[in-house]
């Protein structure tokens, strides 16, 4: 009966959306709003300042590495993500260097892009996805957008579940595709996934509404 609270204040969140459900959150004592504020300040100032403010870019970099170490953020996934996203920054820097553009030069573009990238990734590592709908709601974002965000988070797991189930069912029927990749077959699977997930999605949403989600 632990899920029922008579006469108590209870949040409108389903357990899955409770920000701290089952995961260690670095700097949990700091409200996500403050984390967001720090992140936004860093990003906006970095994106606007010229590179003559090199101490700003350097300082921000050192601060971010400090936060990552102090918060004991898993460094490997963070570095992989940085590596994965760096080509986007490098591509733009290359384009700026190659063609005489009227804007900032390529060192500025690269430094700005790199620092902003690291800032957002560190922010994401200290803020769980489930905290985002709550923050948006408290900041006065329209309810429909918050609901869509929360449902998107919840339904990502539904999609994984349903596609697992479909794969298992196909294996049970000893299904072997004729070709290794077939557009038609994959589209059929994705379409079926949408239809099946929509049925579960409706039940989940009704259950959330019944527990007071607005």
């Amino acid at each position: 009966m632990s899920g029922i609270h008579f006469g108590q204040h209870h949040t409108p969140y389903a357990p899955e959306f409770r920000p701290t459900a089952g995961v260690r959150v670095p700097f949990a004592w700091l409200a996500p709003e403050w984390k967001l504020a720090v992140m936004l300040t860093l990003v906006v100032v970095t994106a606007v300042m010229p590179l003559t403010w090199w101490w700003w870019h350097g300082g921000a970099g050192i601060f971010l590495v400090g936060v990552a170490v102090a918060g004991r953020i898993a460094l490997k996934p963070l570095l992989w993500r940085v590596l994965w996203l760096l080509p986007f920054v490098a591509g733009a820097a290359l384009a700026a260097a190659w063609h005489g553009s009227t804007g900032p030069g390529w060192p500025t573009v690269a430094a700005r892009g790199g620092v902003c990238l690291l800032t957002v990734l560190v922010f994401a590592a200290v803020t769980p996805f489930g905290a985002l709908p709550g923050v948006l709601r408290r900041l006065g974002v329209p309810a429909l957008l918050v609901t869509t965000m929360a449902l998107m988070h919840r339904y990502l797991f539904v999609l994984v579940d349903e596609s697992d189930r479909m794969r298992r069912a196909r294996t049970c029927r000893t299904f072997v595709p004729k070709r290794r990749f077939s557009w038609g077959l994959n589209a059929e699977v994705i379409g079926r996934l949408f239809v099946r997930a929509s049925e579960r999605a409706e039940r989940i949403y009704l259950a959330m509404c019944a527990r007071g989600w607005k």
């Binding site: 967001l36 992140m39 936004l40 990003v43 906006v44 994106a47 606007v48 993500r81 986007f88 920054v89 591509g91 733009a92 820097a93 384009a95 063609h99 005489g100 553009s101 009227t102 804007g103 900032p104 500025t108 573009v109 700005r112 892009g113 902003c116 990238l117 957002v120 990734l121 922010f123 994401a124 803020t127 996805f129 985002l132 329209p142 429909l144 957008l145 609901t147 869509t148 965000m149 449902l151 998107m152 988070h153 919840r154 339904y155 990502l156 539904v158 999609l159 557009w183 038609g184 589209a187 994705i190 379409g191 079926r192 949408f194 239809v195 997930a197 929509s198 999605a201 409706e202 949403y205």
Partner: protein
């Protein structure tokens, strides 16, 4: 097509954010009034789908990425206003939690992918549906709408990068739009295949009646036109724009010349021609795909008519 931080300057970011806020606010208001409560979960599901699909992306020169946009597909399935809300949600989550697209460029990204793409997609979808009837026409319409929405969004993106001065128009335009004319073929094909699979299984899921109400199309269309006038027209138009003519009148055209980014004149007639040929090829492919997919529609309607 996600633009990272530091690539758009302040004026571009503010202009695009203003347009994005107007578009998203309008769409939210409309969806809240018109979408029945039982269809709300479909918004979340559509967002989860698009989010998963956009995990697959690769860099395109100019610092942006190439991937599925999904605007046309969601617009065809749930209607244009719902698509604006869905894609915006995906972009906000990607921006804050995956560093996909910059925080300062969020407004720009929302305008390109969540306003331009679904609105152009829905408009094309509606137009082609009028032109070609039946299920086959619908599938062809989704395929062509997917192509058009991707190309339109990339065009806006190139314009913004050039307006910011980060990448010259002479590089941004051919690379962005050229690459996305190819990506658009994939987008159109995948959109059409998934759309057909969903329509076959659950036709009632598809919102045919209000894909894009004419009344609201005026509003969204106006928003896209303002965006095009702001971001693309100064570069793509061979005539001197307002700013240039003012500069010429005041006599400091020579001074301004060094700082302007090369306009359309360098491309001559070849670029519009390439655009038209590309669109015709994409339309042909869309019709071909729909014939390939929807095989026995004619025979079934004939037998229905006979019985």
């Amino acid at each position: 097509m996600h633009i990272p931080d530091g690539f758009v300057d302040v004026k571009t970011a503010i202009a695009a954010s203003a347009l994005a806020v107007v578009g998203l606010g309008y769409a939210l208001n409309q969806v809240r009034r018109e979408l029945p409560a039982r269809r709300v979960p479909l918004l979340g599901l559509g967002a989860a789908f698009v989010f998963a699909a956009q995990m697959v992306n690769f860099p395109v020169i100019g610092g942006t990425s190439g991937h599925l946009v999904g605007g046309a597909l969601i617009a065809a399935l749930l209607g244009a206003p719902a698509a604006v809300v869905v894609i915006s949600t995906v972009l906000i989550a990607q921006c804050f939690l995956f560093a996909d697209g910059g925080v300062t460029a969020l407004g720009v990204n929302i305008f390109n992918m969540a306003v331009v793409a679904p609105v152009v997609g829905a408009g094309v979808y509606k137009g082609v549906c009028r032109l070609l009837s039946g299920r086959r026409g619908q599938v062809a319409a989704v395929a062509f709408a997917g192509w058009c929405s991707t190309v339109a969004a990339s065009l806006a993106c190139a314009g913004q990068l050039a307006w910011s001065g980060t990448v010259g128009w002479a590089v941004a335009f051919p690379v962005m739009t050229g690459v996305h004319m190819l990506i658009g073929i994939g987008e159109g094909a995948i959109s059409a295949l998934v759309f057909y699979a969903v329509v076959k299984a659950r036709p009632e899921l598809v919102n045919n009646t209000q894909a894009l109400p004419t009344r609201s199309f005026v509003g969204y269309g106006l928003l896209v036109v303002v965006g095009v006038a702001l971001f693309v027209a100064p570069f793509a138009c061979p005539w001197p724009d307002g700013l240039e003519s003012v500069a010429a009148k005041l006599g400091f055209e020579q001074a301004a010349k060094q700082s302007t980014i090369s306009p359309m004149k360098d491309f001559g007639v070849a670029t519009p021609l390439a655009g038209v040929v590309g669109a015709l090829v994409a339309f042909g492919l869309a019709v071909f795909l729909s014939r390939l997919l929807v095989k026995n529609e004619l025979t079934s309607t004939k037998t229905n008519a006979a019985t």
